[in-house]
Amino acid sequence: MTKTITLAHGNGGEENNELITKIFYKHFKNDILEKSEDSALIEDGKLVMSTDSFTVSPLFFNGGDIGKLAVCGTCNDLAMMGAKPKYLTCSVIIEEGFSTRELEKIVRSMKKELEVNGAVVVSGDTKVVPKGAVDKLFINTTGIGEVQQSGISASALKEGMSILVSRDIGSHGATIFSAREGIKLESSLETDCASLYPQIQALIDAEIDIIALRDATRGGVSAVLNEWAKASNVCVEVEEEAIPVQEEVRGICEMLGFEALDLANEGTYLLAVAKEDEVRALEVLQHTHKSSAVIATVSREYEGRVILKSSWGTKRFLDLPTGELLPRIC
């Protein structure tokens, strides 16, 4: 561990993992925490619980704001365990001088998103701090959900299984980046920020046996695939051409030197199913997003690693993103 915390420790990638394991897991160590899933299974697996803090800058962006993000983020973590979001808490830390109107706008968009999930805020806290102590507004939400389908786990992937992505990737990261100061980009890109529970409910209703499920937030699709490959000790073989990426996202990546696979998403998830469920699962996904696709298969070629295959027959490893990619994206 380095002596001081740098922004790289918050990137959702390698440094972030190091921070969590070497400091937090070391002291908080317990069986539930160590499973390291999107949210924690509690009460004999009937309930799940998750927490997330939101520090995005700017607070308002194309297709969403910090409020929508704060509800989606936590509810999606619950949904990724096959659970229906039920109860949320909401803590806000506000910088003095912040506009009341903007605050209400944010809270209104939280309410709207809670309705999509069928969840309610049952407890909350507010703190106001002197100018400069936070950047305008930080929000923390914690949520509890009721498990609808159990057994979903990052460590359950087996040879021959298929991995699908629920829509085109990277639009949240690309939107935030193009909205940031210092980059003069005009773009009609919108964040993918969305509550995912309705889509997961549709998969459960269609009786798809969900093996693994994870939303590709910080660290993007790269981080999820690497986590799965490691947790299940399998090789994930990705067909590069099959990955859906919008032209504008690709353009921004080309210009700024990023990979869409590393960019954050706020309403895009990966789904692992048995080969025989692949077609039916894709049908359900395409109901919401035409761009959803089968992007990878599970093999044993390089255990614990993700490989990316090109259309001209070359292969390379796809690693966890390292370093500071986008400061404070969510």
Partner: protein
């Protein structure tokens, strides 16, 4: 006429069938080669493409790449990073630089570490943003830590031009611009006895092409003529690179040694004369620039001309900037890698003590460095 879209600039140049077709042509021509050929791609952007798109997997065994020193972040010696660190830690200074530079560790840490300790360090995409930062922070001094080859030098020159014309009182420059042809000469015509034994390893060059957008292809003329090393100025997409490689192989088959341009859509012989004039106006050569991993290379660096010394942070802050040269880690073999004498995986600390998150040697610090590209994209497959 249909408007040109961004995707036109890369889509066709990543076409799988075209790439495979070039692989076939290269394989056929390579059978006619008498000896294996080692091609140095000087530019870090090329190294990145080679590894990202897996090009070595498409080439016959008698064609090898030597990964050159063309990553401006990687070649920055530690003492100059220490300059940036010391400047950043001054209370009244905002240190501004380009992207990857903030990750490179000096002897006290990186600019990222300085920032975590409270220093005001910012990275920009365009140096012109310094003007805005300076006007918003009139009580601070903005130091632009300028890095890069011929490609980025004009952007710094424009900023210098604007600072002087607009009489901006609070922007200074720390110039670390370096030039490509001089280091290419150094690599094939090294004075170092140890290296001299290996100096024939580079048979041809893929010429850095964005450098040539500014400086023209003319800067490489002497290599085929005086040194017998063919040069093909090549673009950065995989189809560009496969075509460039095939042009080099053809030269060997036909026993030619010429300067050719593959990247004709943006490169010409003369280059951008306006940019060249602006560079000439504000900058002059320094007799020696120390490259990390390679040591002193004559005439390879630039500095602000003496008449603009009042804008030179190295002069304004000379009392606080460290002057001692700092050697690289003993186990690091970046110098050998940059000279084409070794591959990253031959280094004992590659991937163990030296990783992108904790780089020890220059080639690991930026995504364009050879070691970093090998680590990220996997040399195993």
């Amino acid at each position: 006429m249909r408007a040109l879209e961004l995707k036109n600039l890369y889509d066709d140049f990543r076409d799988g069938d075209t790439i495979k077709a070039y692989a076939k042509i290269i394989a056929q021509d390579a059978k006619k080669l008498k000896n294996p050929i080692n091609i140095m791609e000087v530019c870090g952007g090329h190294t990145h493409t080679i590894m990202k798109f897996g090009l070595p997997q498409l080439l016959p065994n008698n064609i090898n790449f030597i990964h050159g020193p063309g990553c401006p972040v990687c070649i920055m010696p530690k003492e100059r990073i220490d300059h940036a660190y010391v400047l950043a830690m001054q209370e009244d200074v905002i240190l501004v630089t380009l992207g990857d530079m903030i990750k490179v560790p000096g002897s006290n840490g990186s600019l990222q570490d300085a920032r975590a300790k409270g220093a005001d360090v910012r990275f920009v995409y365009s140096p012109m943003e310094c003007l805005k930062i300076a006007s918003e922070n009139p009580t601070k001094t903005v130091v632009f830590f300028a890095i890069g080859f011929e490609t980025t030098t004009p952007m710094t020159a424009v900023l210098v031009d604007q600072v002087i014309k607009q009489k901006v009182p609070n922007i200074l420059f720390h110039i670390n611009h370096v030039t490509v042809p001089e280091v290419m000469v150094e690599l094939i015509d090294s004075r170092d006895e140890h290296v001299d034994a290996y100096n024939n390893r580079i048979d041809a060059f893929l010429g850095p092409s964005h450098v040539s957008v500014i400086a023209g292809s003319k800067i490489y003329e002497k290599f085929p003529k005086d040194y017998g090393r063919p040069v093909v100025v090549t673009g950065f997409e995989p189809v560009d690179m496969m075509q460039g490689i095939s042009m080099i192989v053809k030269q060997f088959v036909e026993e030619r040694s010429e300067l050719e341009i593959q990247y004709k859509r943006v490169v010409n012989y003369k280059g951008n004369l306006t940019a060249q004039a602006l560079i000439e106006k504000y900058f002059e050569k320094i007799s020696l620039f120390r490259w990390r991993g390679l040591g002193n290379v004559p005439d390879s660096g630039l500095k602000l001309r003496d008449e603009f010394s009042e804008y030179n942070a190295e002069i304004v802050y000379k009392d606080i900037l460290p002057i001692a040269e700092i050697e690289d880690h003993k186990l690091c073999i970046c110098g050998d890698i940059l000279r084409g004498m070794a591959k990253p995986q031959e280094c004992t600390i590659f991937g163990t003590a030296c990783k992108p998150t904790s780089p020890i040697g220059s080639c690991m610090v930026s995504s364009e460095g050879a070691c970093s590209a090998y680590y990220k994209y996997g040399n195993l497959i």
